[in-house]
């Protein structure tokens, strides 16, 4: 959509998409990120999405809303979203301002996020845990 290099790298690892946010995003960049990510979920037929926000020291209400929207869209397209790496100060500020991540699951870091997805995967699609292919049939 908008020009310029992406500020979020979206990587594919098996049937999981890992979106790593490098820097604070403004509103239009968030919209672009949302668009890119939801696009790719369909493209790669991903079953899980991990959004790593460890580099952010501020998550404002629009960012929190975008995370919730992405999770909901991903769910509609068949993928479970986990937000990982929320910093302690960020976590408490978010809660104090009354803007949690809603029903979106969260985990400490990337490793934990992957573990959480792995724990959910067998229920979502049998055989995922032994499936080492990239998710294509």
């Amino acid at each position: 959509m908008n020009g310029g290099p992406a500020l979020v790298s979206i990587m594919r690892q098996g049937s999981t998409l890992i979106a790593s946010v490098h820097t604070a995003l403004d509103d239009s960049q968030l919209v672009r990120f949302e668009h890119d990510l939801v696009d790719q979920i369909g493209e790669h037929r991903s079953r899980g999405v991990i959004i790593d926000v460890a580099a952010l020291d501020v998550i404002d209400s629009f960012a929190a809303l975008t995370l919730r929207r992405i999770a909901e869209m991903a769910r509609l397209r068949g993928a479970l979203t986990v937000v990982v790496g929320i910093q302690p100060e960020v976590a408490f500020t978010m809660v104090r301002l009354g803007m949690g991540t809603g029903d979106v699951p969260t985990a400490l870091d990337l490793e934990e996020g992957l573990a959480l997805l792995a724990a959910h995967a067998p229920r979502a699609r049998s055989g995922t845990s032994t499936d080492t292919s990239n998710g294509y049939p």
């Binding site: 929320i86 302690p88 100060e89 960020v90 408490f92 809660v95 969260t106 400490l108």
Partner: protein, 300 residues
């Protein structure tokens, strides 16, 4: 009474070169030095009548009033409050643990001011103009002394309070890893908002540091919480969840349970278990630990 003639001569001498307030002050100081015993005695009686410093023994009273009196006169003479400040801080340090209140300290200093002013009236009553000048010199100095003593006392009290708060804070919120990925936070004593804030900070950094998945907050040792703290606790639980850890709260006293329900804190998302033992068992279950007792172990 037998001091009268001598006083008169002093008075005229004073009158002759009553130019600077400084000279008046030195006259005044020598007057106060001269009648030290009588004035101090009078002051001590006034203190007793006013029922101040009841926590002190008569001997202590005598010693303290003497030194306060001497310091007082010295400050009048030198005009430097530094020595008095030092003394007042010292005095406060000694008497605060004895339960002496602020109003008592201010009270005795004001009494001394009045006693001394009264003696000045007595001495200079024949010459109204001179009396005025003497009081002009005396009053600002006396008020500054009262001010200094009161401020020093309050400062000292606050310092003691701060020190105690620091001490409490240091031992207040340990974050203890008991098993891999399991933290315990025992909370002892009253949770105020400052402590709650600190607890949150320590817990959240503890979660990251120990990569905790489950946290047990045990509030058996906390008698009461207010609405602010209760809400803060709920926020802490939410924030922990954002960091991927689930929180179990144990040991809610009946009173706290009652408070929480009465003030309508939303606890639907809180995982609470009766006691610490139950909380640990639940945490172990969540983490997939099983604890079994070995057959034939020594304790039965």
């Amino acid at each position: 009474m037998d001091e009268r003639p001598e006083e008169h001569s002093g008075l005229t001498a004073l009158r002759d070169d009553a130019e600077g307030g400084e000279h008046l002050l030195s006259q005044l100081v020598s007057h106060l030095r001269e009648h030290r015993t009588r004035l101090r005695q009078e002051w001590a009686e006034r203190i007793q009548q006013a029922h101040l410093l009841t926590a002190m023994t008569p001997q202590e009273m005598a010693a303290e009033t003497t030194s306060v009196y001497d310091n007082y006169v010295e400050v009048l003479e030198t005009g430097s409050v530094e020595a008095l400040q030092h003394y007042a801080r010292d005095l406060s340090e000694r008497i605060i643990p004895r339960g002496v209140e602020t109003h008592e300290v201010v009270g005795i200093v004001l009494l001394l001011r009045d006693v001394l002013a009264r003696s000045l009236f007595e001495k200079y009553q024949r010459d109204f103009a001179l009396l005025n000048e003497v009081l002009d010199a005396y009053e600002p100095a006396a008020n500054r002394i009262a001010n200094t003593v009161a401020v020093s006392f309050v400062d000292e009290r606050e310092r003691v309070i701060r020190q105690q708060q620091d001490a409490i804070r240091e031992l207040s919120t340990p974050v203890l890893p008991v098993r891999e990925r399991l933290l315990i936070l025992p909370i002892i004593g009253v949770l105020d908002s400052e402590r709650a804030r600190q607890l949150t900070e320590q817990l959240l950094t503890g979660i990251r540091k120990h990569r905790a998945k489950v946290v047990v907050i045990d509030i058996t040792g906390s008698p009461d919480v207010d609405e602010t703290v209760a809400n803060h606790l709920v926020q802490t639980v939410d924030a922990s969840r954002l960091m991927g850890a689930s929180v179990i709260i144990t040991g809610l006293s009946p009173k706290i349970a009652q408070t929480l329900v009465t003030i309508g804190v939303d606890l639907s998302k809180m995982n609470t278990i009766g006691d610490l033992q139950g909380g640990l068992e639940e945490a172990e279950r969540l983490l997939g630990y099983t604890v079994t007792r070995k057959e034939g172990s020594t304790s039965s």
